[in-house]
Amino acid sequence: MIKTILKPFAKFFELQARTHYRVERHSMALTFGIILAAGVGGFVEIAPLFTIDDTVEIDPDMRLYTPLEQAGRDIYIREGCYACHSQMIRTLRDEVERYGPYSLAVESQYDHPMLWGSKRTGPDLARVGEKYSDDWQVRHLVDPRALVPESIMPHYAFLLDAQLETDSLPDRLWALRMVGVPYTDDMIENAAGDAVGQARPDSDRVNGVVERYGQQTAVRTFDGRSDMVTEMDALVAYLQILGRLTDLPQQIQPQPEE
C-alpha cells in the first residue's frame, strides 16, 4: 500500500537520490549542508525573542537583586538547587492555585542565567519569598526533616558556619552590568559593604543599602547570627526576594488558561 501512495513521488525520490549520490562525495558540501539545515530552526525561534517588543513585559519599577541577594543566588546555583526546584509557574489552574499568579517573562529579566528549572522533586519556588519566616527557612535548611518529616531534601547546615565571601561582589556586579543588568557605579563600588549592611540592621551601612536599592529592601539578620554574615544569610535573603522583584503579576491579576 505504501508503494501505491508513494508512486506519484517516484520521480522526485529518484532525483533526490541521484543528486545526493553526487553531493555525498564532497565533505565540504556535507559540512555546509548540515550547518544550513541545522541553522534555520534556531535562528527563526531565538532571534525574534530579542527583537519583538512584547516578548518581555515592561515594568519601570522592577527591582534589582541586592549584592547579598545576588550572592545568595550564586549559592543557590552552586548547590544545584535548580535541579529539584523550578522557578516558573505555568499558566495552568492548579499551579496558579498552588503557587500563585503565573510567572511573567519580566520577572526573570535580570536573571543571568534564568533558573526556571525542569523538574519539581521539590515544590516550585517562584513565589516563595516571605511565604515563610527567616527562622523557618534557616531551620528548614539546617534540617529539612525536622520541619517536614516526609522531605527528601538534603540538609545545608554547613551554610550557617560558612562566612560569606564578599570581596568578589564588585566584580560580580560589574560582570552582570556587562550582560545588561543596570547596576550603577555606586552600587558596584559599595557592593561588598552593602552585602554586609543588609544583614546587619544595627549598622550604619543600612542607609546606603536602602538608598541604593529602595525602601522595600529587607534589612534583617536573616540567619539569626549576629557575629558574622554567613552564606545562610545570603541564601535566605535570596529565597525571601523570590517573586517580589515586581508586583506586575499581581496587578495583572492573571486568569488561568482554561
Binding site: R25, G41, E79, D111, K119
Partner: protein, 550 residues
C-alpha cells in the same frame, strides 16, 4: 603505545602537554583564592602525567612499520577503555543519586555529596564521559574503515581524546566543588568551555582531513552523522555558553542571556544535545556496526538520506517544547510542538531502516547477544522518539512536565538506546581492534544484555508510574473545588518508585561492570587472530554503481 609515535610526534606531544602544565600552573596561581585554583592543579596533574608518559618513551627506537598498510587504532583502544571506566563510575554515581531520593540519609554530611552537586557528575559523566569517549573512539574506527584510509597524523587523535577527557575531569571535579553555570548539560564554567572549543576544532579538522584522504569516492552515511554531531554540537556549545566571567582569576561567570531568551537558548541547546550528541553520533555507530555484525547491507539508501536530513533539519526546532505554558511566547511553543511531532517521521525512518536491515539475519539476533544489543537499541530508539513526540504535545506536556515522566523518557533513550547501542558496538569492536578471535566470554555478554534490559525496563516503568501519579495528584481537586493533595503527599506516593528506580539502575550498572571485565579479559587472555582486509586499500578499487532501487 608511545613507541608508535615518531621522534617528531613525540616532541610535539611533549610540547602540547608541557603547555598544559603551564596553563594548569597559571590557573593554580592566578586562581589561588578561588576554586579555580584547585581546578588548575587538576589540569597540571593531568598534563604532567601525559608529559612524563611521552618523555619516558622519548628515546625508544623509531617505529619502522609502513603507515600506509594499516589503520591507526591506538587512540581508539584507549577511548574504548576510557568509555567503559566512565560508564562504571558515572552510572554508579547515578545509582547513588537515585538512592538519595529514596533514602535521603545516604547523602551523609559532606557539602560535596548533596543531590544538587553530584547529579551533574552523573549526567555529564554518562553523556560526555561514557557517551563522548565512545563516540570519539568509534568515530576514529569508522572514519578510517569507511574511507579505507589511515588518519593523517598520530598526534591530533591523542590530543582530541585526552583533551576531551581533561574537559570531563575538570567538569566533574568542578561540580563537586560547586563550580557550575547551572545550565543543564552545559554546567562547566568558562575556562572549561573555551578548552572544549579548542579540542572540538581539532576534532573537526581531523575528521575532514581523514575524509580528504579517503580511497572511496563516497562518504558513508555513518560519517554524515558523525559530521553533524561534531558541527552542530560546536555551534550549540559556543552560543549557549556565551558568558562574561566576573574575574579572570575566578570560576564564576554570568550568562550573556537572561530570562526568556536564556531559557530558549538553553533548551535549544539542551534538546539538541539530545539530538546531535545522543542521537546523531550514535546513529553513526548504528549505521556501521549493525550492518557489519548482521552481515547485511543497509536496507534502504533513500531512507538513510531522508532520515539524516530530516533529523538535522527538524530537531533544531524542537527545543521549545521544554517550555510549554511558561513565559515563553506562545508562537515559539507552538513551533516547537509542531516540529517535535513531525520529527517522528525521520526518527522512525531511521529505526525502521535499522530493523529492516536485520531481515534475513533474525536468527543471528536470536543467537548473538551483541547483535541483540543493537536490535533492542533500535527498538528503544523508536519507542523513545515516539514518546518524545507525544510528550511534546502541549496538553500531554502539562501533565508530564516537571515530573519523573521526563526522567523516565530520558532514561528510555539514554539506557535503552544510547547505552545499548554503545555496548553492542563495543562488543563488536573489541575483538577487531585488539585482533582477538572473539570476546572472552559470550555468556557474560548474554548476562550483560539481560541485566541491562531488565534494569532499563524496571527503571522506565518506575518513572512512568511515579511521574504520571505525581502529575495527576498535583491537579486533583476535591468536590469543593480545592486542591486535594499537598506537595508532601506526592512525595510519600513517590517513595516505592524511587526504590524501584534505584534497583533498576543497580542492575544496569552491574551489567556495565560485567562488560568492563569482559573487555579487559578479552584483551588479556584471548588468543590473537589476524583480521583479513582490515587495512587501507588503494583508490583503484572500483566505484559502486548507482544504488539499486528498493
Amino acid at each position: 603505545m608511545m613507541s608508535n609515535l615518531t621522534g617528531a610526534e613525540r616532541t610535539s606531544a611533549m610540547l602540547i602537554s608541557g603547555m598544559g602544565v603551564v596553563i594548569g600552573l597559571t590557573m593554580a596561581i592566578v586562581g589561588r583564592n578561588d576554586v579555580m585554583g584547585a581546578q588548575g592543579w587538576i589540569v597540571l596533574a593531568f598534563s604532567a602525567v601525559v608529559f612524563f608518559m611521552v618523555a619516558n618513551a622519548l628515546y625508544h627506537p623509531e617505529p619502522t612499520e609502513d603507515r600506509t598498510t594499516s589503520y591507526y587504532d591506538d587512540p581508539t583502544k584507549v577511548g574504548i577503555v576510557l568509555a567503559l571506566v566512565w560508564a562504571v563510575v558515572a552510572m554508579g554515581i547515578g545509582v547513588w543519586v537515585a538512592a538519595q531520593l529514596a533514602w535521603p540519609g545516604l547523602r551523609f554530611d559532606a557539602a560535596w555529596s548533596s543531590f544538587g552537586r553530584i547529579r551533574p557528575v552523573h549526567t555529564s559523566g554518562v553523556i560526555f564521559g561514557f557517551g563522548g569517549n565512545a563516540l570519539i573512539a568509534t568515530s576514529y574506527h569508522i572514519m578510517q574503515r569507511t574511507s579505507r584510509a589511515r588518519m593523517p597524523d598520530q598526534v591530533t587523535p591523542w590530543f582530541v581524546l585526552l583533551g576531551f577527557n581533561l574537559f570531563c575531569i575538570i567538569a566533574a571535579s568542578g561540580y563537586l566543588m560547586g563550580v557550575t553555570q547551572s545550565k543543564e548539560y552545559a554546567e562547566p564554567e568558562w575556562y572549561a568551555d573555551i578548552w572544549l572549543v579548542v579540542v572540538w576544532v581539532a576534532y573537526f579538522v581531523l575528521y575532514i582531513r581523514t575524509l580528504a584522504r579517503r580511497n572511496e569516492p563516497h562518504i558513508y552515511v555513518a560519517n554524515w552523522y558523525y559530521l553533524a554531531f561534531i558541527l552542530v554540537v560546536a555551534v550549540l556549545h559556543i552560543v549557549n555558553n556565551l558568558a562574561i566571567p566576573a574575574s579572570l582569576a575566578g570560576a564564576k561567570s554570568y550568562s550573556a542571556f537572561s530570562g526568556v531568551q536564556d531559557a530558549m537558548t538553553q533548551w535549544w541547546y539542551g534538546h539538541n544535545a539530545v539530538a546531535f550528541f545522543l542521537t546523531s553520533g550514535f546513529l553513526g555507530m548504528l549505521y556501521y556496526f549493525l550492518p557489519k555484525r548482521a552481515d547485511r547491507p543497509i536496507y534502504s539508501y533513500r531512507l538513510s538520506i531522508l532520515s539524516f536530513w530530516g533529523i538535522t533539519f527538524f530537531y533544531i526546532w524542537a527545543g521549545s517544547h521544554h517550555l510549554h505554558y511558561t513565559a515563553l511566547p506562545h508562537w515559539v511553543q507552538t513551533l516547537g510542538m509542531t516540529f517535535s511531532v513531525m520529527l517522528l517521521i525521520p526518527s522512525w525512518a531511521s529505526a525502521g531502516n535499522a530493523l529492516m536491515t536485520l531481515n534475513g539475519a533474525w536468527h543471528k539476533v536470536r543467537d548473538d547477544a551483541t547483535l541483540r544489543f543493537m536490535m533492542v537499541a533500535a527498538v528503544f530508539y523508536g519507542l523513545s522518539t515516539f514518546e518524545g513526540s507525544f510528550m511534546a504535545i502541549r496538553p500531554v506536556n502539562a501533565l508530564s512536565h516537571y515530573t519523573d515522566w521526563t526522567i523516565g523518557h530520558v532514561h528510555a533513550g539514554a539506557m535503552g538506546w544510547v547505552a545499548l547501542i554503545t555496548f553492542g558496538s563495543i562488543y563488536a569492536l573489541t575483538p577487531v581492534l585488539w585482533h582477538r578471535e572473539r570476546m572472552y566470554s559470550a555468556k557474560a555478554v548474554e548476562w550483560h544484555f539481560w541485566l541491562a534490559l531488565a534494569g532499563t525496563v524496571i527503571y522506565v516503568f518506575a518513572m512512568w508510574n511515579s511521574g504520571i501519579t505525581q502529575g495527576l495528584m498535583w491537579r486533583t481537586y476535591t468536590q469543593s473545588g480545592t486542591l486535594r493533595f499537598s506537595f508532601t503527599d506526592t512525595l510519600i506516593a513517590m517513595h516505592p518508585y524511587y526504590v524501584a528506580r534505584a534497583l533498576g539502575g543497580l542492575l544496569f550498572v552491574t551489567g556495565a561492570c560485567i562488560g568492563f571485565w569482559n573487555v579487559i579479559m578479552t584483551i588479556r587472555h584471548v588468543s590473537k587472530q589476524n583480521r583479513e582486509l582490515d587495512h587501507p586499500t588503494s583508490p583503484k578499487a572500483t566505484e559502486p554503481v548507482l544504488p539499486v532501487a528498493e
